[in-house]
């Protein structure tokens, strides 16, 4: 990893941004051009490791397909004809149109969008609040990570993460709907999971497919997609019936145990076996393994958050974890140290009537009302407002780093909604199918061209990592800087402060400034355990709430429960004849990040085409061979992907990867409709009552051989 430097070479400390990040790196430059990127062996979380995506970063930053200049639409919307303009012109035009729409429809008619947890994530919220609109949204808010943080906060008062960082190794790890050996952006580090496994932690994995994590696990529970809460309730009952819970902890530090015991009375392993397809004896085995190999910890993933059962899935699993009592203990589930000062998002500066106007606020209290941790608009309601003008019109969408046509459910409806706008601005690194729909496209900086600090693991913040501007490609700019300049053009009362001022505000508790941390690269705050013994848990009762007082107050079910999904073999008898298989989507590729990365040659070579997984028995039944293009159809639409035959999936289930478009295919679609999983997914009601989550997984589908 170390090599000799010549005189013109300089090495910077930074942290990789090919996913949500967390991996410290050393970036070498020669004459201001980046020549090498290596893992930083001293960095506290990755300790020198890097994944395939990070190792391909040079082909990202210097990719010839990158957007380099602002572009203005020449033909009609979505036609793909562009004219280069300069930054000043671009921002002036955007500002003028925003003012016009604001004057005519009110500021709530301007929606602000972004993708998943990137470097500018909290800054985009700040910009929306400064602009005065309540309607910012992102595909992940109702169905990725925020629900986990929410359920964890309701139950424990803060997000729990696995403690891989101290001297005590978890004795068992429950991995649920998650593949940490390939992905690790949300509050944990996959590399550290691997170390723990190699050190001897027992691994129990719940997944409908034989993931790479399931493959190395001691126990794999192959669950029917969408039935996770039923499995968790049955495991809770086993642990209670067998007296395997931590009774000291339950007595002293929890509320609602008796109500929970009553709630799970009927949740026998036989009941759960029928619902989940997991054999009763395996449920017992898993519950015992988890409860008796202590300390144990929970690795939960996005799969749990992508159906209308979202919050109840998470609550059931959080409560199951609480029974072990391994909360804020070495090698168990810990609360982070929250090293940074809370980001100044400025929600308190948004007028109360605007909070009330937020689309979804009247229904989805934990997503869109002021009760939510990070209030955002309910995305399908925003698209409906663009389409129908109800409950009020949304006429502009300012997107900072999101390929909306690939990443929101029901792409065809999203396409119609975007087509209906008066102003669409897309800031991105590449010309995506979504950017092709815009009035103005702005070129965004990559992680090697931005300045920021960020706490990791996300939301725990025991380590603060830095990213610093090392190179410049074309006229690309950091999203935050674009927002600051736009705020200035709009003469907003705040939100115009220099970026470094905001970064230094975040750094205040660490008594360093940005210039200093750029040299350091990272700062670690030592973990403290058993914090509740001094201050209690940060819930209304000060205890772990098996029975949630907040959910009760908001008139949601305060106890975990299971219900069959809206679209499912049991709930949709009218569909099952035509759509006989269960469709699960969204497993992360080890080489792509959602819809990103397909322009990067080293990565694309590894995954040339989207591969749908089906069981050989199913393939035979439908006349499909390994490697055939296969049609996949739901009531929303149809796509094709290549069949990959594997015994690692149930014959009744089909798995397809998401985020697939083909940058090499002709503009303006770039193959958007060919293999995009979200053509098939469902964005209509019923939603999760508290989080507003729609159904991206466990849908019904049919398959056939395609050409």
């Amino acid at each position: 990893m170390k090599h000799k430097l010549n005189q013109k070479e300089k090495v910077y400390r930074s942290s990789c941004g090919m996913c949500h990040g967390g991996c410290g790196v050393l970036v070498s430059t020669q004459d201001a051009r980046i020549t090498r990127i290596e893992g930083d062996p001293d960095s506290p979380l990755n300790k020198g490791a890097m994944c395939a995506k990070g190792l391909a970063s040079l082909q990202h930053v210097y990719n010839s397909a990158r957007l380099q200049y602002p572009l203005m639409r020449k033909g009609s919307r979505g036609e793909g004809k562009w004219q280069r303009i300069n930054w000043d012109e671009a921002l002036n035009k955007i500002a003028a149109k925003i003012k016009q729409i604001k004057g005519k429809y009110g500021v709530e008619a301007i929606a602000v969008g972004q993708g998943t947890g990137r470097h500018h994530f909290p800054f985009t919220i700040r910009f929306a609040n400064a602009l005065g609109t309540p309607n910012w949204c992102a595909p992940g808010q109702a169905q990725c990570f925020l629900p986990r943080v929410t359920a964890s906060k309701l139950t424990f008062g803060d997000l729990i993460i696995c403690d891989y960082y101290g001297t005590t190794r978890p004795s068992s790890i429950l991995v649920w709907g998650h593949n940490p050996v390939h992905t690790s952006p949300d509050g944990e580090m996959g590399f550290r999971f691997l170390q723990s496994w190699k050190g001897g932690s027992k691994i129990i994995t719940v997944d409908p497919r034989l993931s790479e994590t399931a493959s190395i696990s001691d126990l794999w529970l192959q669950i029917r997609p969408g039935t996770d809460a039923a499995l968790a309730l049955a495991m809770i009952k086993v642990i209670i019936d067998d007296n395997l819970f931590n009774s000291d902890f339950i007595n002293r530090w929890t509320v609602g145990f008796d109500q929970l015991r009553k709630r799970v009375q009927g949740c026998t392993t036989q009941w759960a076996e029928q619902i989940t397809w997991v054999p009763a004896e395996k449920i017992i085995q898993a519950a015992r393994m988890f409860a008796t190999n202590k300390p144990s910890c929970l690795e939960w993933g996005v799969a749990l958050e992508q159906t209308p059962n979202c919050l109840q899935n998470l609550r059931a699993i959080a409560v199951l974890t609480a029974l072990t009592g391994d909360i804020d203990v070495p090698g168990g589930n810990i609360f982070g140290m929250h090293a940074l000062r809370h980001f100044p998002t400025g929600y308190d500066r948004l007028p109360p009537e605007m909070h009330e106007k937020r689309l979804g606020a009247d229904q989805f209290k934990l997503l869109s009302s002021r009760e939510a941790l990070v209030p955002s608009a309910h995305a399908p309601t925003v698209f409906q407002a663009m389409l129908t003008g109800k409950p009020y019109p949304v006429k502009a969408f300012l997107i900072f780093g999101n390929n909306a046509l690939l990443t929101y459910a029901n792409s065809q409806e999203v396409h119609q909604a975007l087509s209906n706008l008066d102003l669409l601005v897309v800031t991105d690194i590449y010309m995506t199918p979504t950017a092709e729909m815009a009035d103005i496209v702005l070129p965004a900086a990559t992680w090697l061209e931005v300045n920021l600090v960020r706490g990791y693991p996300l939301r725990a913040e025991n380590v603060v990592l830095v990213q610093q501007k090392i190179t410049q490609v074309g006229e690309a700019r950091q999203d935050q800087e674009i927002m600051i300049d736009l705020a200035k053009k709009l003469k907003l009362p705040w939100g115009t402060e220099p970026l470094e001022e905001v970064i230094n505000y975040q750094l205040q508790p660490l008594a360093v400034n940005f210039e200093q941390i750029k040299e350091l690269g990272y700062i670690t705050v030592p973990q403290k355990y058993y914090k509740h013994q001094k201050v209690g848990f940060a819930t209304p009762s000060g205890k772990v709430e098996l029975h949630s007082s907040i959910l009760e107050r908001l008139e949601y079910d305060p106890l975990p429960g299971y219900s069959e999904l809206p679209e499912s073999p049991l709930n949709s008898p009218e569909l099952i004849g035509e759509y006989p298989l269960i469709l699960t989507t969204g497993t992360k590729s080890p080489v792509f990040f959602h819809s990103e990365g397909r322009q990067i040659p080293y990565l694309r070579e590894i995954e040339v085409d989207p591969l749908a997984e089906i069981h050989p028995e199913t393939a035979r039944k439908f006349g499909i061979d390994d490697g055939n293009w296969m049609g996949i159809e739901t009531p929303r639409g149809k796509i094709k992907q290549k069949a990959r035959l594997t015994e690692g999936i149930d014959p009744r289930v089909v798995h397809i990867p998401h985020g697939w478009w083909f940058p090499e295919q002709a503009a303006p679609d770039h193959g958007l409709w060919q293999s995009n999983a979200n053509v098939l997914t469902r964005n209509g009601p019923p939603y999760d009552p508290a989080m507003g989550t729609y159904q991206l997984r466990a849908l019904l589908c049919k398959i056939y051989k395609a050409t």
């Binding site: 190792l55 190699k198 034989l210 080890p590 080489v591």
Partner: protein
């Protein structure tokens, strides 16, 4: 000498080794000195398992590529390290056919063979440096018999 040692039971199919290698040598598309292959069938040894294999030069003790090369471009250094001398390679591709591991590639743009050199310029091959699970190690093997079988 040290060789690449692959333990399939530890491989998690993350492809870091491939991209680490490609980046080190800026290999063009189609040239993969090291390649992870994911099998379709589950090996039933008690627990289900995804079979992963690795295609890479084994630096054999008795290398068929060396003996078949008419230009003397593939040389065996020490007791195993097999290096390609690009100046001598005439692009005949006989080594590609001779290699039982399919580990030698042909670079059409340069009209020559292309293969792993174990990163002799640094202490450890870059693929090993970035293997997160320890499936790939750089370890001494006293291999003096026939070409080793892997997987």
């Amino acid at each position: 000498m040290n060789r690449l040692v692959f333990e399939p039971k530890l491989c998690v199919g993350c492809f870091a080794c491939e991209v680490a290698c490609k980046g080190e040598y800026q290999l063009p598309p189609g040239i993969r000195w090291i390649q992870v292959e994911k099998g379709a069938e589950i090996t039933n040894e008690g627990t289900p398992w995804i079979p992963l294999n690795l295609k890479v030069c084994q630096h054999c003790a008795f290398p068929p590529c060396v003996s078949v090369c008419p230009a003397g471009a593939i040389e065996q250094i020490k007791d195993g390290l097999i290096l390609l001398n690009e100046e001598k390679c005439n692009g005949c591709q006989k080594c590609l056919e001779a290699c039982p591991f399919g580990a030698i590639a042909f670079d059409p743009s340069r009209q020559m063979a292309s293969k792993c050199n174990l990163c002799i310029h640094q202490a450890s091959p870059r693929c090993v440096t970035y293997c997160p699970s320890g499936a790939l190690t750089f370890a001494a093997t006293s291999d003096s018999g026939p070409a080793p079988q892997r997987g």
